[in-house]
Amino acid sequence: MTATPELIASAPAPIPLGSSPDRRGSWIPNGGLITTRIMELRRRRGLMVALIIVTIGIPTVFLVIRLLTHAFDPSSYGPAGGEDIFNSLVAGVLYVFGFIVAATLGCTAGSVDLTEGMFRHLVVTGRSRLALYLARIPAGLAIVVPLVAVGFTIVCAVCVFAAPTQVNYQGVNIPPGLSKAGFAHWAADHQNEVICNFEYHGGPGVVTTVFNSNAVPCGGPGGGAVIQKGPGGPPASASTPSPAMIRAAAVVMAGQNYAGYTRIFLSPSVGLMIRTGLWIELEVVVGFIVGLGLGSLLGQRTVAVVLMIVLEIVLTPILSRANIPHLINLQRSVVGLAVAHLEPSGLGFVFGGGGGPGGGQGTSQLVPESRTAAVFVILAWLVGWTALGAWRMVKRDA
């Protein structure tokens, strides 16, 4: 039972056991695996164009249009920037589309080796399948995180540099950054606008006198003041106030509204932008990791992408708002709801919802969940989908 001696003599010696210097059995991906994976994804021209359009193109076009319309007709069109625009673009566009873009890239990264026949070549190299899977995570994030960051930076830049020059409070344009005394001084000089537009929460009789005198022309019935009554509004009475009384009334009302004035900013603060940027990137990371796991699990891209879009656009908003008593814990396990609960305070609506305790402005519309629970839900999704995707990759017939 031998081959011919000359045949054996010419054969190369077998590789000694354990002499694999490249550690190809290790589950830790090396730099080469990651960089070539980045190259493979980056060269998908159609996908990259779509990602750039969604993450950078849409906000940029929106802002450019606002810049142009404001430049040509500032009386009809407001400034392109400002905190309101920031809220709308971040919570309304980047949050949702960032997730979908990341999920699409994840589904692609998780399935294309299989569908395009490269998986078999890669397995034959002897490289750990787990390492092949894990290499996709930094590779995909290295693409989608900077893309979203660029889009977000553009939004921040326009919202700061093209912000309105005056605060619009209760329909009245007011210089920004006034102290309480400065605010009172400004109110004294703009007594009619203050008395006609600011809320009045009760108090000194001088205001009541002014309200009932029709001395301040606000354009209401009979030419008198149309009062923005808060709780404890003035009782009806009639007398003729002096200019000093009107001035005093304006100062009183300014004092009552100063707190509201200070909550309005011309542009998002640096702190808000940083926190929002990190929050958006968290959403992107979640989208990519879940998409990667789902793509690997299903072994194909299209169905995985559709499922991810349905999750983000349909299921998450419904399950985040509808309070279903018997399914409340299931609802809390939805990752989109958990991420929404980590929304930075001061930010606007997310799919009509909002932040958690101390968070955004739509708190009451969301199914309640503590921040701790939200963090654990997010971690569970990240770890769970990574484990599922990796398991399928390791066990799959190539």
């Binding site: 190809r24 059995g25 190299t125």
Partner: protein, 325 residues
């Protein structure tokens, strides 16, 4: 070249194995279907080894099991002396393979695809990309997208993908698919040159003529089982052969031979006879045939022993295509 196949080796250590591929009782099932059925296969190192079988015989499944692309249900296997799957990484470190149709990322160039595969191998693999492309004649198209490649070019790229690992063992599944005659000649030459360098090439193919021209030894697989294996010359020496006779009055010649104890199967044609004789039949039997015919008044114009081709032998031994030996 003479290769005889041994019986199972007992307790040999990995490092001194003389077999590039060694399997014992390897079995793979898909539900009720046994695709690989207790395969005992021994591929000597440093030769071209053909792996033959009809469609659906389990050739590709065995290759997939060997490479760890799918798991075996039972049995043991070694590649280059390393147990698989226990030492899979070490075993595959010096194995290159094309399984089924070679497919790559179509949006990348051939070179970029090889870069991805090189990154999954050792560091030196990256330096072998250029030489590998040159060796398969693809250097001039290396920077074109694979989506623009023909089937034959993808086959060549597949071989290049094998070569970047500096393989001691290449497992090529139908490498001639999609190649034109010149491409097949190039592939044949390449396989022979790889063997000349001391590498082992396992060639799975249905092109029997190509295998006969390229390989030193073969294994025949049918219905998941290896039914024959050994050096081609040895296997053919053990098969039946045909004696072709050109003569007058073929019908009467057939009747004459039918009344003798020569044995074999006689087929009568318009120009003469074809007599299939069992392996080991002596030359004196052929002489006796001639004497019978001449003695019976038949004019014998030509009498020739025809060597059995691999193809006809293959048809003999594979049960579903003809007579089983």
């Amino acid at each position: 070249m003479s290769i005889t196949l041994p019986t199972r080796v007992g307790t040999r250590t990995d490092s001194d194995s003389q077999w590039a591929v060694e399997t014992h009782g390897l079995t793979k099932r898909f539900g009720e279907n046994v695709a690989v059925n207790g395969v005992e296969l021994l591929v000597p190192r440093g030769c071209a080894f053909g792996y033959l079988g009809p469609n659906g015989a389990g050739k590709t499944t065995l290759i997939r099991v060997l490479l760890g692309l799918t798991g075996a249900d039972s049995g043991t296997m070694q590649l280059l002396g390393h147990s698989v799957p226990r030492h899979r990484a070490a075993a595959l470190a010096r194995v290159g393979a094309i399984v089924d149709e070679p497919r790559f990322h179509g949006h990348l160039t051939g070179r970029q695809n090889l870069q991805i595969l090189a990154a999954a191998r050792e560091r030196e693999a990256k330096d072998r990309i250029g030489p590998a492309l040159e060796r398969v004649g693809m250097l001039h198209r290396a920077d074109d997208k694979v989506s623009k490649y023909s089937m034959g070019m993808r086959q060549r790229l597949g071989v290049a993908a094998c070569l970047i690992g500096d393989p001691q063992l290449l497992i090529l599944d139908e490498p001639m698919n999609g190649l034109d005659p010149a491409g097949m000649q190039d592939m044949r030459d390449m396989i022979l040159s790889l063997v000349a360098e001391g590498r082992t090439v396992v060639l799975s193919s249905h092109l029997l003529d190509e295998v006969e021209r390229t390989c030193d030894a073969v294994a025949i697989v049918d219905r998941g089982k290896v039914i024959r294996q050994g050096a081609i010359a040895d296997l053919l020496a053990g098969s039946s052969f045909v004696v072709e006779i050109e003569c007058s009055e073929p019908s009467r010649a057939g009747e004459l031979l039918g009344g003798t104890p020569i044995g074999g199967r006689v087929e009568v044609g318009s120009q003469g006879l074809g007599i299939t004789l069992p392996a080991g039949t002596g030359r004196d039997v052929i002489a006796e045939i001639n004497r019978v015919l001449v003695g019976g008044g038949i004019a014998v114009y030509r009498l020739q022993e025809v060597q059995t081709s691999l193809e006809s032998w293959f048809l003999q031994v594979t049960s579903r295509l003809g007579v089983s030996e």
